[in-house]
Symmetry: D2
Subunit: 333 residues, 4 copies
């Protein structure tokens, strides 16, 4: 299986290193419009071809699959060309700049019978896999909420706001963990530059069952926080990604209602009990993601981070952006 | 100066102890409708009178001031009676169950020329006083945002939601620190009981200048977090109230814009620099609050936690509740 | 059962409050040589008698037991008088200023058939009880070491060094957890004042089996650390007393030896696995200690913190002091 | 300037990468007795020669300097040959297995007029450089103690004990920070394997002035701790190397003595004040060390981590080992 990589920016070297390390595939060519980026490829991987144009990849009939790691605004056009050229496609997250584009790519991939996958790397981390296992085991009881904080002193992006930059990680985790589909989104945010691109934003995702998800994203925090709470009525999980080894903690914190005759009071009794910190696998997530893509191409079957999950993420981001621009109004999905 | 205390629940013993400890005032009487609560007063403070009815306080002409520490729904009626009885009034937070009631009390206090104050104790902590000092000093530069998280495994209240229970602390701090008045509120939340009282809620408070404030409140978190960020364009403050001694950290994290010819890009450069942890006074905040009330009564002058700040807090809570019930719609203040 | 308390300094009010709160005993009298300390008793406990001399307690035939909370140098004389006066005795820690004195008191208590107990309060904390349970369960495997750090910016004592001040807590925990008796002690330390009383000291306690215990004590640390490690060859415990709720963590960190033909190498494989944080009881330890004393007096039976444990602690402190003064030389116990 | 590297184990790739990256030097050849290690060199650095014997380096007249990164027992022989072959030498830490060997190498280097340096990388970290700056500035006042804890679940070494493995880092920092020479060492420790090599050890280093240094080293701790305290009578430093960004904290914790007439009491008053967390440079320490070596060779002048410091470290380790084997006895340096 031969692979072409389009775009060799920040993430490109990691993709090249991981796909090069897999047994059953070979990175044939890397394209980027910047010669100085291609020079890095040449120096470190002399056997990999390079090109200043992605067309050399689309036109190469020997290439089975392409990995697209360019800015999001170019994802749709490049992925469409790749599929039309009968190639399997792995897109960096977020999948596309609009849900309509994402849907068109899905339709085209079905028509062409090609794999279309999105690199939501976080789903392949030991921590998220452990959370998935704990949620699916039913130990948490009825799962009631998801609360994520991803803030730090970050580079202000010029093309997308802080939600499009940071929230895809957390939305993909939410979508992976929770089977129920959300029905609406509220979001607020603010831009402290004069380009109207929010550097701080807050989003609530609403579900019919009463489940609720909230996201706090900022490029303007003096401290780096990466924390997600997943609360059930029996147990709750804290995922603190800043912890080097104790990333996942499960708290035995069930509560129970006691009806009291007097005054229709609802008394809630909490039982704060033991805490369990499971050992989490420390394999590199990107390696597992790359394997999942190669496996989907080679053997069929659906990857964990498939195109439907990618579409869900874009739908929520899109609705959030609408909500921010409409002053927090609820946007139906 | 003689004081009567109405309501001897959770907070009552702290109020009694603090007001009893002041030089220039005497707690004359405590009322509560529960005899077993009054027994506690009798046992520990044999010289303090007790009564099952607040009317004994209103009718006692020797009483100069009353402290009202009852559930919020009763605040208006009791405070009104107290003012009509020509007594100065200290109300527990939140001030009233509606901003209309709060305004009526303010008007009445002006008419009666009596002190009307709200016990937002947090404003008297060493940590908040230090934050106020740092913000006022201008060291932070232009102050851009306020972000507060106050979550824990808490007792579900039956009469008010989690915002009315927990957010008054943080809203009072916001109002104390930031001179600009907010113009609108968005809020979302969910009730995981069948009484429609939210146990998780999120609130954004919007300001014309681009300043933004956000509040994350929950009774359903497995971990106790008490953290507030205040971000300026030169420095930022982290207030972590769970830290025993290092509550306030000031980060030298200014950023600057660089205009780049190509594509009107806005590049933002962060400078993450030194951190400063000032020593914070550890005097009991409630003592300082009690002194501030006694001083306002004795000498005139405005207390830090005055009725206008109390009204602001209620206005924001009221708007947040409306917004939650209208699916996150922006509510103008 | 009637109790007299001798010495009403820092710890006295806690003892008075706890013994007063027990059902089956009454604090009859408190003595202290300082009238201003007795005034505090009179104000808060009008029904308790006071005296400027402990003799009034020894001479009162109605007193069943005395609690001695004076500086350590006076423990022996007071406890001896109390036993001679046919009273049960609870001594604050450390038991006495020398092991010879401690042994004499034990002999006297046996002769008089009276309870002689030492208040090592820490043994009654939920955290230490949980540790005891975990060690006794055998889950840790062979227990190999105990390592304690108890440092902070503390008041320099004038009569005893930092080991006598701080280490009794940790030595009592060691003695409580580990059945094997130590055979020798090494210690080093330094005095940064001109009174030869060490403000920083380090102690190693040696055991025949290869078990080792180490103690790091300081009044001169800028940070407050209260941490004890107990390591077995299967699991290890970290007791961090500065953690508000997660004081005890048990790590699944067994290791195994693999003999390798070449070069008689010993390879050790560590398995760092799950972590378990058990819920720990939060009852006040001093209440449980007081009950244990009253129960030992009333019903016979041996208290947890008995005089033999108290003697062990003094023996180790005494040996440590000798070792420090002899430049770290091993002192046999 | 041409360099040969002898030994390509765990640390070798880092040395090769760093020396290769310097402008004014070239890594000419790497030797190791294991072909599989040399294959790694060939694959990643095709232009670097390899050899199974160090003699090819000693015999190559074009080589100016050698870097020796082999197990400690071979350091002396290899370094002696290198110096005899008229090459400058950089030795990995610890310098040699005995202080006599270290002294011989120093004498030989002086005779041959060649640079002899030891790679105590830690001295080149931003954190240690900041500590050095703070200590030298006099801000700490009289510096009273150094207390280091370096414990984790580590690989049991077969040739050296835990002190020789872990303490060189901390002893080199101590020697770098404190000008006064120590006069004696006490140490205790235990081996939990049957090879008599201690996996837990404690060391006190004594100074005539009353300054004291203590080291706690363990391969058997469930938690990884890397913490050093440096205490002065005005300010104190905490160096927590596990902190990603806040490694150095300086505490304003001066204390003062008050002479009290009664009883020659010494009362010590502590002032716990502000805390300052300076920004620390994050350049790779190994790069700075490599530059320091190249600079010393090219331009003369003494490197920070010179052979005299290396000798000091070995002297203390040697004394500690003697002390452990003599049951903690004080060993003069």
């Amino acid at each position: 299986m031969k692979i072409g990589i389009i775009g060799f920016g920040y993430w490109g070297p990691n993709l090249l290193r991981n796909f090069s390390g897999l047994d059953n595939c070979k990175v044939e060519i890397v394209s980027d419009y910047r010669m100085e980026r291609l020079d890095i490829v040449k120096k470190n991987y002399p056997s990999v071809k390079t090109s200043l144009t992605a067309d050399d990849i689309f036109n190469d009939l020997s290439i089975d699959a392409v990995v697209i790691a360019t800015p999001v605004f170019s994802h749709f056009e490049l992925a469409e060309k790749a599929l039309v050229s009968n190639k399997h496609v792995l897109l960096e997250k977020p999948m596309t700049a609009s849900s309509a584009d994402a849907q068109k790519l899905i339709d085209l991939s079905l028509q062409k019978n090609k794999v279309l996958m999105v690199d939501h790397t976080f789903l392949y981390t030991g921590a998220v896999q452990k959370m998935k296992h704990l949620v699916d085991s039913g130990d948490l009881g009825k799962v009631n909420y998801f609360d994520s904080t991803r803030i730090n002193l970050g580079l202000f992006q010029q093309d997308v706001n802080v939600l499009w930059d940071l929230a895809p990680h957390d939305i993909s985790i939410l979508t992976h963990l929770i089977a129920e589909k959300p029905y609406s989104v509220n979001a607020t945010g603010i831009s402290h530059t004069n380009n109207e691109i929010e550097n701080i934003a807050y989003m609530t995702v609403n579900f019919q069952s009463g489940f609720i998800a909230h996201f706090n994203c900022s490029w303007s925090s003096p401290v780096k926080i990466r924390m997600t709470l997943v609360g059930g009525d029996k147990k709750m999980i804290v995922f603190n990604d800043m912890e080097p080894t104790e990333k996942i903690k499960m708290y035995d914190t069930g509560y129970s209602f006691k009806t009291d005759e007097e005054k229709q009071r609802i008394l809630v009794d909490y039982r704060a009990g033991d805490i369990f910190i499971p050992k989490v696998q420390t394999n590199e997530a990107l390696t597992l993601m790359a394997k999942d893509f190669v496996n989907a191409v080679s053997n069929g079957g659906s990857p964990i981070s498939d195109c439907y999950l990618g579409l869900e993420v874009v739908k929520i981001l899109e609705a959030a952006q609408k909500s921010i621009k409409q002053k927090g109004k609820e946007i139906l999905l």
